[in-house]
């Protein structure tokens, strides 16, 4: 009986909800403005479960999805390790995975995510080159590490491999990314800092910190080692065992000499270390800098001459999505790239995968400050209404092309990952 209502792909949930949905068809189709689809009548009954790191799992996004698309998005925020675990081991617990590219490299092989057909992605052509060819501009040099384009495509709808060209099947749809560097307390350092090597400068003995997440920490270490002139890596993102030993050896020695005050693992730990003055120079994430500044404490996201360590995240679809829910997921992804979310995230200091659509959702001043690196004309507020920067301020590191153009490496998972993790644990225990 209910089956007659559905002529196209039938999902379990759509059968159950079919009757009720038909009744509310008139209201339902009105609710989805701007995204008319044949599924409009029952899409509002769909619930998609998304999980990811706290960065982009924001309740405002879920509320806006309900408003614009009509269906419900449930969000769960977890730390990177738990995100990896879930994506790898609990495919039934989510519909959409919001993960980083290096996590994708780790978990794609488990086959819990399905490839996305780029022909269904409306703004695919506008996605920045970094995620497609790997080049931000045609002249760009591809950075080392797990660059997003190297794990961004698979061979086909059932692919569990990665291919290096734009195959039309994407593993993750890029959402946000940023260029990370060292955070410093300019008031406590009192002199210019321009190189990663300063992290191990004995001047900051007992006042430095690095993050205790091996895949990210090792990259920061590699930047430091290279900046010190100790060694030039053929590929920082894929070290040999000897290179891992050498890198961690240098840091173990520094640790034994008391260079580090602490290691941090979570965002708020890094904020507290910096705000309390326990640490004056450390690896840091962009919103953590903002959080320190919001306390009225000077903190700079210091651009360094060797370049940035970058990261990117994207949305992946669970293998279990099909029928109506899969269509809803594509709607959601198209909506995600349509600009509202991009504007929301860019006003927090991240970058959107399709910057030009985000521009429509930002004021000229905001666009000028966050994207073009121009001095702010008025106070710059974040999406929650808090003042982030006063008029006249310029973003640390400058414009999008200045920052994303000087990426030296990406967060990475190496072939020798298992060895690296063991060595990392030795470093922590040393």
């Amino acid at each position: 009986m209910t089956k007659q209502l559905d002529t196209k792909g039938i999902s379990r949930r759509s059968i159950l909800k079919g009757g009720a949905a038909a009744a509310g068809a008139a209201i339902g189709s009105g609710a989805v403005t701007g995204f008319p689809t044949i599924w409009a009548q029952n899409i509002k009954d769909v619930t998609l479960r998304q999980f990811g790191t706290g960065v982009s799992n924001i309740n405002e996004v879920a509320a806006k999805v309900k408003e614009d698309l009509g269906f419900t998005l449930e969000m769960t925020a977890l730390d990177s390790d738990s995100v990896t675990q879930r994506a790898a081991t609990q495919p039934k617990s989510f519909d959409i995975a919001d993960i980083e590219y290096w996590i994708c490299k780790k978990v794609w092989g488990a086959g819990n995510l399905q490839a996305m057909d780029t022909s269904k992605i409306k703004n695919y052509d506008k996605i920045v080159g970094t995620f497609k060819s790997g080049k931000l501009t045609p002249e760009s040099v591809i950075a080392q590490g797990t660059a997003p384009h190297t794990v961004g495509f698979t061979s086909g709808p059932e692919g569990t491999d990665f291919v290096q060209e734009e195959s039309g099947w994407m593993t993750l749809i890029p959402t946000i990314y940023n260029a990370d560097t060292l955070g410093i307390r300019p008031d406590l350092i009192g002199r210019p800092i321009d190189t990663w090597a300063e992290l191990l400068n004995p001047e900051f003995k007992g006042k430095a910190s690095i993050l205790d997440i091996s895949s990210i920490g090792i990259m920061d270490m590699a930047m430091v080692v290279e900046a010190m002139g100790e060694y030039k890596y053929p590929d920082k993102g894929n070290m040999t065992q000897e290179e891992i030993d050498m890198t961690l050896g240098i840091f173990t020695e520094a640790k034994k000499n008391g260079q580090f005050r602490a290691f941090w693992k979570s965002f708020d730990e890094s904020v507290n270390l910096m705000a309390s003055g326990e640490v004056v120079i450390q690896s840091m994430w962009s919103p953590a800098i903002t959080a320190v500044r919001a306390k009225g404490i000077p903190c700079v996201y210091q651009p360094l001459k060797e370049g940035y360590r970058s990261w990117g995240g994207g949305l992946g679809l669970s293998k279990n999505l099909s029928g109506l829910e899969l269509d809803a997921a594509y709607e959601y992804i198209n909506w995600y790239l349509d600009g509202w979310v991009g504007g929301f995230l860019m006003r927090q200091g991240y970058y959107s995968a399709v910057p030009e659509t985000s521009k429509n959702f930002m004021s000229d001043d905001e666009w000028g400050f966050w994207f073009e690196g121009k001095p702010a004309e008025g106070d710059i507020k974040n999406p929650f209404g808090d003042v982030m920067e006063k008029a006249g301020a310029v973003r640390d590191g400058g414009s999008f092309y200045d920052r994303m153009g000087s990426v030296a490496c990406w967060n990475a998972v190496m072939d020798e990952n298992r060895y690296m993790v063991r060595k990392w644990n030795e470093f922590i225990a040393a």
């Binding site: 390790d81 738990s82 990896t84 675990q85 790898a88 081991t89 780790k106 978990v107 092989g109 488990a110 007992g206 910190s209 205790d212 640790k255 580090f260 005050r261 602490a262 290691f263 941090w264 693992k265 507290n272 309390s276 003055g277 326990e278 990952n417 298992r418 993790v421 063991r422 644990n425 030795e426 922590i428 225990a429 040393a430």
Partner: protein, 292 residues
């Protein structure tokens, strides 16, 4: 006339005891034995980046037991354990002694005992974290010492050091020592002390020859609590050492975070055996059953 089947009273008693013991056996079986068996089984499995699968390999154990990190970490954990135990024992014994022998009235004893437990109404983590702003470089401890003129430079070793770890442990676990020692002390017959005094024993002799031997079971129960809690800890060490010290618990939690469940299982089994061994040795010294 009906004849009821006579049951041998001793057999009946046996049946009743079997029935009485069943619920506990079921609970322990389901929630203790079964999980441990699962962990032991998984510890022989193999794993890769994203999954683990049945196998029979000894690599998890071999790697764990031959790694220098494991030994260094066990040494470090034992160091924390011994230091924490010493301080907890001294503090626990002193507090319990004061409550049991110096405070004369029972209501006051109970009231003071409850006062001891007040900090334990908040969460473990909060009690631990609150040391961080206190001990920090610009924390209350350092700023008061500087304003008193005791030191010129802030003391760096107050926070993110072994000192901080042991301090937090002692703060967290001292009560686990106080309670059982207080309990055994309250059972000591006061006339024994009078008798000792009449026989001419000095205060110190009473303490070493009467009170300590009689309070031994309490000390031992408290020690078991402290030892097991410190050996299994993974969060206090991380926060108070600023992530710079390892503990056995952290090794396991790291392995879980990296999806290396079989390796984590093997580490857990080794830790479990170590702790059981330690408790076994402790039980040799004192017969706790006599006191329960």
């Amino acid at each position: 006339m009906k004849t009821t089947k006579k049951i041998d009273p001793s057999k009946r008693a046996e049946r009743v005891s079997w029935m009485l013991v069943t619920p506990l056996a079921c609970v322990l079986g389901f929630f203790l034995l079964l999980p441990i068996l699962t962990i032991v089984t998984v510890s022989f499995w193999n794993f890769n980046e994203w999954s683990f699968f049945p196998d029979f390999i000894l690599d998890n154990y071999v790697y764990h037991l031959t790694s220098a990190v494991t030994w260094a970490t066990y040494l470090k954990t034992l160091k924390f354990m011994v230091l924490t135990w010493c301080f907890c024992a001294v503090i626990g014994f002193t507090v319990a002694y004061f409550l049991a022998f110096h405070v004369r009235s029972l209501p006051v004893q109970i009231a003071l005992f409850l006062v001891c437990t007040i900090p334990f109404w908040t969460s473990n983590i909060i009690r631990m974290i609150s040391w961080i702003p206190f001990l920090g470089r610009n924390g209350i401890a350092n700023s008061s010492l500087i304003s008193l003129g005791v030191i010129d430079e802030p003391l760096e070793w107050l926070l993110y050091s072994d000192f901080a770890v042991v301090l937090a442990f002692v703060h967290l676990y001292a009560l686990f020592m106080v309670v059982p020692i207080f309990n055994t002390m309250m059972r000591i017959d006061k006339s024994l002390i009078e008798a000792a005094r009449d026989a001419g024993a000095s205060g110190l002799q009473i303490l070493t020859n009467v009170i300590i031997p009689l309070a031994k079971p309490g000390i031992m129960i408290g020690s078991i609590f402290v030892v097991t809690l410190v050996m299994g800890d993974f969060i206090t060490v991380r926060h108070m050492s600023g992530g710079q010290s390892a503990s056995v618990g952290r090794i396991i939690s790291n392995e879980i975070a990296l999806l290396q469940y079989p390796a984590a299982a093997a580490s857990s089994v080794v830790l479990l055996c170590t702790v059981l061994l330690m408790i076994g040795v402790m039980m040799r010294f004192v017969d706790i059953r006599k006191e329960l």
